[in-house]
């Protein structure tokens, strides 16, 4: 098990739908990625964020935002998912762009779409939305917008913003 090769600081690990994952505290993210890279996970597939706001699942995630780093070992063809939970009131984490180069644009996208701040990023600006855009569109409390459709399912939830957003 790859997860057990990591020296310390794993909060949890497991296998889901055939894929291995480990969860680490956000303070240890850079050390974990560096260590995994030296263990052969040299290929970075993608990084993204999941917003767990008001999730109906039985097992509640520890924080609202979950960052997911998908890494791949090109020799053994194995993949490993690194999860980092980030609290809603302090959405910041250290940038990994100098460990994995392609993380640069993924971090910009995550800042743009979810408002997660990556400390140490050289150019943390919006990448997909216009520079003067207000808000972070992929957060779950950001409305989809568009024309309201009467009697459609969930239309109250999706077509209007909650009062605090």
């Amino acid at each position: 098990m790859t997860a057990l090769k990591l020296t310390q600081g794993i909060l949890a690990h497991g296998v889901i739908a055939g894929a291995e994952w480990v969860s680490v505290p956000r303070e240890r993210l850079r050390e974990t990625l560096t260590e995994l890279k030296s263990q052969g996970y040299e290929s970075y597939v993608f990084m993204t964020c999941v917003d767990h706001l008001a999730t109906p699942t039985v097992e509640k995630p520890p924080e609202r935002f979950e960052l997911v780093y998908e890494l791949r070992n090109m020799k053994t063809h194995r993949e490993l998912r690194v999860r980092v939970f980030v609290p809603e009131d302090d959405p910041r984490v250290h940038s990994a762009h100098d460990i994995y180069t392609p993380a640069n644009w993924d971090e910009r996208e995550t800042w743009d779409m979810f408002g997660i701040h990556f400390a140490g990023h050289p150019d943390l600006t919006r990448i997909l939305m216009p520079d003067d855009w207000v808000g972070h569109p992929l957060r779950r409390d950001y409305p989809v917008g568009g024309e309201p459709v009467d009697f459609s399912e969930d239309h109250e939830v999706w077509q209007t913003a909650p009062p605090e957003a």
């Binding site: 739908a17 917003d51 990448i127």
Partner: protein
Amino acid sequence: MPDTRSEQTLAPGVTITREREVGGDILTVNFGPQHPSTHGVLRLIVDLDGEVIRRVKPVIGYLHTGIEKQMEALRWQQGVVVTDRHDYLSPPINNLAYALAVEQLMGVEAPPRAQALRVIMSELTRIASHLIWLGSSGIELGAMGIFMYCLRDREKVLDLNEEISGFRMHTSYIRPGGVTADATPRFLEMLDAFIKEMPANIQEYEDLLTHNPIWIERTQGIGYLSAEDAIRLGATGPMIRGSGVPWDLRKDRPYCSFETYDWEVAVEPAGDCYARYLVRIKEMRESTKILRQALDRLPGGPVNVDDRKVLPPPREELDTSMEALIHHFKLFTEGYSPPPGDVYVAVESGRGENGCYIVSDGTHKPRRVKFRAASFVNLQAVEHMALGHMIADMIAIIGTADTVLGDADR
């Protein structure tokens, strides 16, 4: 400004050497976003020292359509239609990534005939995507004729799309649980004819370009990307195989029984634009080989899983079976709900690794759908490849990176 190369060979034996001063004024030039050779709406901010590129900053987002946000507002089976539209040159491959991810989360597997049809559609799409790339790259670098030949053959792929799914571009053909419709006998005939004539057509493209001195001059030695850099920059698809790394998801992480077909990974060691061109030509040949095998041993049987919780019952059953009616009603009002969890599935598109990461919270709509777009990652390597080249080479470098901006911006 004097020439940047200190030494230039004009003809065999005739070499001129020039001295030049480095460190003149830097001129910042804005490319795009509406330049025809940027394959969509890509904007590049380029710092030029004379004609030499000193910095490239791609600015993307002009085609952002909020596809990932839309997916969260749609039911799982409705999302298929949206997946067509991010990489608009390879819709069936995008469908495939999404369908495989949803199937993996729900623990269902499409029947063998559906798997074979998926292979056929994804290889046809790869050929069509490479043809558009070849034709448009040819025009950009001054080879006007090749475009007509490529479009002629791409048209046949679109006809095949239309015959099997009813749509020419956004087919929505592959869906969780199987495919929308079985192949018609006419489709199989058309496919057979297409496979028979394709090798001669590919030879035609090669006759036009492979030994064409202008094509070679514009692409050989341009945009070099070493194998280490390709891995470091996360490049995939023809970008990494053109640098000599035999990485192809169809071989290395097989899906849809790709491991049972007899074909070779197209690899070229040179790492320049010409190598990426050769890789794509070879991939078209290999795709034709896969198509031939898939057609010859196309298994019989159903094209959809026999699971009423995933796909609706046949129309005839609705008249006689109350249970079928209930399943039909449930599927089209609420839809299905995969168990909570997340899964990432990567497939090899014409541009590289196009993956789909989905998170379910146990409801009938996705919590999060993320597309890992090959164009988005490959575009980050453009600056590395372009530094130190002349401005005119920029076009060859963007062209052979083969980015689709709809894919990068989603």
